[in-house]
Symmetry: C2
């Protein structure tokens, strides 16, 4: 059998606003384009529509910047209220220079601007935050979708993060439900009899990256389906569990 | 139209040895399983078969470890000859503790063991190195394949790299030919009229990660095809060009 994975974009999802039933919007859009979900599909939902549905959007008109935000914004020609929102979303500033703010978000994700983003939001002067609890968002979305479908699927909430050493961003999983984020080869013997000792693939992040090839950044395709990957079901798994403990992080 | 990307594994590639015509092996295996390559396909070839075809394999019996390798191996219960090969492949040691060796390879890639790997190689006591010039390997492979097919395809040589902050490895592009590794959204306006200023997606790495979902680590599927992604053709692009200049790397 030819091993194969498909990423199928879901088009036609309307503008999402606070309180919307995102599961219903996704399922009707899939149906409208003739895509039928299947057991074992992984639904990859980009962060922004989740944040919009949850109302994790801030109007900059309501934000009073701190002196720190004012100073950094002045130096680097930025909107001080945007900088202020980034500071409020951060639990640690990793780097703050040349106009770049790399922060550890309240969830523990290390990314530019603590995930605060002004793109793809209707109306001026509004920025989106990461969902408060992306694993919880994924879990709730999955429960509603599975209740309507009647068979198991997994959910990944994705966002585009930069990384050290290499240019550009890749999409990673910031919230997951129903899928083990790691494929652990430790203890597995390769076809030549060699025992793998350290190999663990971050498959949830790889699925998020694969999905980005279809969803893009400006194409109004905020959701896709990854089909054909034999993931390990895991009801307890979280994307938070993907974070490396700082003291054990040899890559830092 | 439903946007869609497919990853199709190529099975049945025989054991690759030094001097093999990898392009021919890939094309016959694809044909044998009924997969016809198409213009615009991206062929993703995992590093190990490229290294094997190029003879980038070292027999540990021929390696005399240095005092540094002997000491580190003794402390952490490792094979000192394996450690020695890692040191020889490195141009800088990033971390060397708890038995973990994170190094900058001669190419500039930062990864565990400078890419030296003992898995998936026949025979005992042999380790594979990264190809000397993975962009050159990709370019040569692409030339042969395009000459036989008569239409344009792109080639990515992939390997599994760990990363800071997050557990597990994701596959990245260590060599490319014919494809721009970055999709640059700077200057693009989103559907809401917002001008994107910083967004650049590392699509070659995302394709490599997508391919890993099909190739895995022990399944004898070392090559796959990514189909349907509208990549930007680029005859000059290299994976080396994906490396962030250290002085501009705010994520370090």
């Amino acid at each position: 059998m030819v091993p194969q994975v498909q990423i199928i974009g879901i088009t036609g999802i309307p503008e999402v606003t606070e309180g919307d039933d995102l599961a219903a919007l996704i399922l009707s859009a899939a149906q409208a384009q003739g895509t039928t979900l299947e057991a074992g599909d992984v639904l990859v939902v980009t962060q922004k529509v989740v944040s919009k549905a949850e109302g994790a959007v801030v109007d900059l008109k309501d934000v009073t910047p701190s002196p720190l935000a004012l100073e950094f914004a002045r130096e680097h020609n930025k909107d001080p209220r945007h900088v202020e929102v980034v500071l409020r979303e951060s639990r640690r500033i990793v780097r703050m220079e040349r106009g770049v703010l790399i922060a550890e978000s309240k969830h523990g994700f290390i990314c530019a601007n603590a995930g605060v983003d002004a793109s793809n939001i209707p109306g001026e002067e509004r920025v989106s935050l990461l969902p408060r609890d992306p694993d919880g968002s994924a879990r709730r979305l999955r429960e509603v979708i599975m209740a309507r479908l009647g068979f198991p699927v997994a959910v990944i909430i994705s966002d585009s993060f930069g990384r050290p050493w290499r240019l550009g961003s890749t999409d990673v999983a910031i919230g997951i439900a129903g899928i083990s984020p790691l494929k652990d080869y430790r203890g597995v013997t390769d076809p030549y009899g060699y025992l793998l000792r350290t190999s663990t693939a971050a498959v949830a992040d790889e699925i998020a990256s694969a999905a980005e090839l279809v969803t893009g950044k400006v194409d109004l395709v905020p959701v896709s389906i990854a089909r054909g990957f034999p993931y390990l079901p895991d009801e307890e798994a979280t994307a938070k569990g993907l974070l490396r403990e700082a003291s054990l992080d040899m890559f830092r």
